[in-house]
Symmetry: C2
Amino acid sequence: MENFAFYNPVKILFGKGQIANIAAEIPADAKILITYGCGSIKANGVYDQVKSALAGRNVFEFGGIEPNPHLETLLKAVELIRKEGIDFLLAVGGGSVLDGTKFIAAAVHFVGDPWDILAKQAPVTAALPFGAVLTLPATGSEMNTNSVITKWETQEKLYFASPLVFPRFSVLDPETTFSLPPRQIGNGIVDAYTHVMEQYLTYPANAPLQDRMAESILKTLIEEGPKTLANPQDYDARANLVWSATMALNGLIAVGVPQDWTTHMIGHELTALHGLDHAQTLAVVLPSTLTIRRDRKSQKLLQYAERVWGIVDGDEAERVKEAIAKTRNFFESVGVRTHLSDYGVGLDTIPAIIKNLEKHGMTALGEYKDVNPQVVEQILTLSA
Amino acid sequence: MENFAFYNPVKILFGKGQIANIAAEIPADAKILITYGCGSIKANGVYDQVKSALAGRNVFEFGGIEPNPHLETLLKAVELIRKEGIDFLLAVGGGSVLDGTKFIAAAVHFVGDPWDILAKQAPVTAALPFGAVLTLPATGSEMNTNSVITKWETQEKLYFASPLVFPRFSVLDPETTFSLPPRQIGNGIVDAYTHVMEQYLTYPANAPLQDRMAESILKTLIEEGPKTLANPQDYDARANLVWSATMALNGLIAVGVPQDWTTHMIGHELTALHGLDHAQTLAVVLPSTLTIRRDRKSQKLLQYAERVWGIVDGDEAERVKEAIAKTRNFFESVGVRTHLSDYGVGLDTIPAIIKNLEKHGMTALGEYKDVNPQVVEQILTLSA
């Protein structure tokens, strides 16, 4: 096992009716800005629950944060915060609203161009405190320090992370997700699954507890994902998806082990250039990455085949092939297509993707830092 | 899944050489009290590492905290802290030193008799901040709010918990545990294993991820425990035991599920009356508790039999019986005996144990709150 530091102070309030408890988590004299997306929280009752929980508090609102949140939109919130002296943020929405709110929190006190936080990885030295009410199980943003932001002007999608942007608390009420369309639930399943794979499917580090915990999340997603798609009102199935998505990226399964993230880095460029949903890019890229990298990942692929999919027959190459096929089939079964052609994207995009990865310094990806542009080309070619 | 709140802000520094990093975790102007046990840290080099890491700092020392730490001892530390104006504690040792330090931290500002924190569950309203350097994998105290203290005068062993006694940080360097005798490693394995069982082996709550994570810890202990006993210098095996013991009781596998703790409550009384090691009491009581409660726990016992021990043959009663037998054999295999008679304790102790449980309000134990004195008598009788 490798040395590690682990720290995650996010308070999770999980279950039915927990939105009612948020007032106690926010300082009484706070000037609160509620940040949200494109209005679904007004349709599904979450907005009313939040307003009711914060009755009598000093509350401002900023809506309109889009999927793959845009720098240009978020800077308007920064302006409002500075003007009104707002000192606490409450993100109400899915991963995009949470990621966007993390950026807003970090940008308010940033000196200089806030895009440098992502483009130059400029250190965040202060951030507004914020809480979250999660309405979409997928990204894990509710219990981590990660944020992915898109600069619309230049079509760039980049990330930053800072311990200063841990949510102070996150409310996870599975009932708030009942009204989500199947496409978003399918995306959430693929996103959570791929988060686990990026931290698990590398090379053995003699960390059996981390491996088993990762496999636990994968098996639970395989088991509960189809259930919650078939019956969105099944509270327990949805609760199990929500908790799996949170556990998939809160740092715990990553301790002391190598990580990959090749699929995410290629995926971000696909979204930036072609507008695919984040999870769609992962569903396209992950099976190809596993196939192209099957020799370097062979030990973990065989473990994954046996423990997650129960594949024990056939020679090693056959078992690996079957495990990757089952992964692809699982993504398709939850409604997320796995080929570039499914989204009208041709292989002529490859030079542009590689050029953007190079621009962003992503020329040595993966757990061995040897996924160079040539390997990216192989991966994308296989994703046709 | 049941509603839950989860919060665990302990920063973990895991791995070789991490003691060298503690100075950065303690305020520069702190008056620090190092608390420790009966001197093993001076023999194994940990004391020197800590002193070296804190060179130039304002450091006091308080040694002599015994196993099952005594109120009477800990109050002497409280006196020293008040006299010297100490404002940060650093616990260096195993679960007893950590539990004792939590009590010291809570007692310093307590108005009235600090034993009330345990005997009357008086609320803790303030506590000194503290960090920990763990030298014995077992109790999980390094990443939770629990503390068990013994009042020597009255032979009472009681617990308290408060979010104010989370360690600010805990250093877990597996190498510091290489010199531990096999008895303490065996005890640690049984302690961690039983912690998981208290949170897992109850009734199904449709929480498959929590179940699988609990099973992950159990399987890792079964796999790595014998390895680390056979070769104490095997870094990875020891690291896996250390991390498993921490994960066994940091709150994560308990979220949204019922808990038992019958075995621990009976065990505490056995230690208080007869001086058995904590883990010895657990090894004695757990198999009997599972047997006596096998009807109410049948669904989880069958799941445990299949997933942890691979038992699939035989009728339900046979599978349950075999799983409990394997549990007992595992404890014996790591050197912890599982019968009262192994420790020279006769069944004539039962009335005294029950009287003490009644005195401590422990007359309705377990996940159904139906383990009354009569059931305790059955459990202890079976433990002969």
